[in-house]
């Protein structure tokens, strides 16, 4: 018999890079990312729970599942969920997915293979399985206990270790997430204005030029801001720096990451300066 499917929205993260609780943010309309995420899960599962950190003192309207250990990331949320409802499969989603839609979740539910430990999508950036919009079957619970006991904290690595069904995303941007204020701006502008394809001349300097093996490239992108394009390129080009360490110029003028890109703009990525 196929185990029942419940929904688990992960909202126990620290939102360190965002600087404020991501679950509280409103990207579009009037629902917070938390309420939107719960609503999406409600539509495709029989019961939905909010996964919260062990030390979260706030009160919530929805039913919560509290982490059993501190600072262990998304895997701790799944651990607590398996413990509370053994024999249940969990559709786990992160709360910072403003492009996730009910049709994507329905696609996942319909493609679910209960004989494997997980059914998931692959990343549009690097083709690897994405752990935070995934159905975890009860058969993953033992592996999870072992992984956590072995100090594993990376949800991606855990997912790699499972027998899975990997799916291509029906909507390729559905899992684009928001970790920083710059990503949020990208998401807001995209949801407001839609995605249009533009041609951008990208220029890499210093260590980034060595990472990519080319000083410039012309590419087509649907990214709205420089931060959105960086996120697309970071994994595809194996760039060795984080956004925080990089500055940009658009058409040879310094600009903030949230600056919108226009068709035929030149975007230059600068590694940390070391002149003098």
């Amino acid at each position: 018999m196929t185990p029942p499917l419940h929904g688990l929205l992960l909202a126990g993260g620290k939102s360190r890079r965002m600087g404020s609780d991501k679950a509280e943010l409103v990207v579009e309309g009037d629902l917070s990312l938390r309420d939107r995420g719960l609503q999406l899960l409600d539509a495709v599962t029989t019961e939905t729970r909010l996964s919260i950190a062990q030390d979260d003192q706030r009160s919530y309207q929805s039913s919560t599942i509290r982490d059993l250990r501190p600072d262990a990331g998304p895997l701790a949320g799944l651990e607590a969920a398996f413990q509370q409802a053994p024999g249940v499969a969990w559709l786990v989603t992160a709360c910072d997915l403003p492009f996730l839609t009910d049709s994507v979740l329905q696609f996942l539910r319909e493609a679910r293979d209960p004989d494997r430990a997980a059914t998931c999508f692959t990343s549009r950036f690097d083709g690897k399985p994405e752990p935070l919009c995934t159905i975890y079957e009860p058969s993953a619970a033992t592996a999870l206990t072992q992984a956590l006991a072995g100090k594993m904290r990376c949800a991606r690595k855990f997912l790699y270790s499972l027998h899975r069904r990997d799916l291509d995303l029906p909507d390729k941007s559905a899992l684009d997430n928001c970790n920083r204020p710059e990503d949020l701006e990208e998401a807001r502008l995209t949801l407001r204005n839609g995605r249009t394809t533009k041609t951008i001349m990208v220029e890499y300097c210093g260590i980034l030029r060595e990472d990519t093996g080319a000083a410039t490239e012309e590419l087509e992108t649907t990214a709205v801001t420089a931060a959105g394009l960086w996120e697309e390129l970071r994994m595809a080009r194996n760039l060795s720096l984080e956004l925080e360490a990089v500055r940009i110029a658009i058409n040879d003028e310094f600009r903030p990451w949230s600056h919108p890109l226009a068709h035929r703009d030149k975007l230059t990525f600068f590694p940390p300066f070391a002149g003098g």
């Binding site: 210093g206 060795s240 300066f273």
Partner: protein, 144 residues
């Protein structure tokens, strides 16, 4: 004014240009290539600059210093390309009516050059390896 050059910088020419009947002080700062960095022996360097942005921003720095410190003259030149130990990577030359402004302006210009200009330094070590200075600590910590 500010400029980039791949040729050795001539301090005498910069000193000559800074001299001015109105000035009571000339200050010159030379940043030179040293043979060590954070305990490692360095054989040589390469500087890379994004010329369009570095030149524009460099001009802003120099203009800003002239206004801020009331200078008679200010000029800064930064090398790019391969440099040997002991060579000048950057020279700043300013003149002003009194010494205090000239010292301060010199320091201001070199500090701003370091912080604001898209220029990168690659060091080459005796074991054949090399590294981009300033990028060691900011590599992505979490690779999959």
């Amino acid at each position: 004014m500010f400029r980039l050059t791949t040729d050795p910088i001539d301090p005498a020419a910069l000193r000559e240009a800074a001299g001015n009947p109105h000035a009571g002080a000339v200050s010159i700062f030379e940043g030179t290539v040293r043979n060590h960095h954070q305990g490692r022996k360095v054989l040589r360097l390469e500087y890379e600059a994004h010329a369009p942005v570095a030149e524009k921003e460099g001009q802003r720095i120099v203009r800003n210093a002239i206004e801020r410190f009331g200078l008679d003259h200010a000029e800064a030149v930064h090398r790019t390309g391969p440099l040997e130990i002991g060579e000048s990577a950057v020279i700043v030359a300013v003149s002003s009516p009194h010494r205090s402004e000239s010292f301060e302006a010199c320091r201001f210009i070199i500090d701003e050059i370091k912080h604001r200009l898209p220029i990168w330094k690659k060091e080459f070590y005796p074991d054949g390896s090399s590294d981009w200075v300033g990028c060691e600590g900011c590599r992505q910590g979490h690779q999959h």
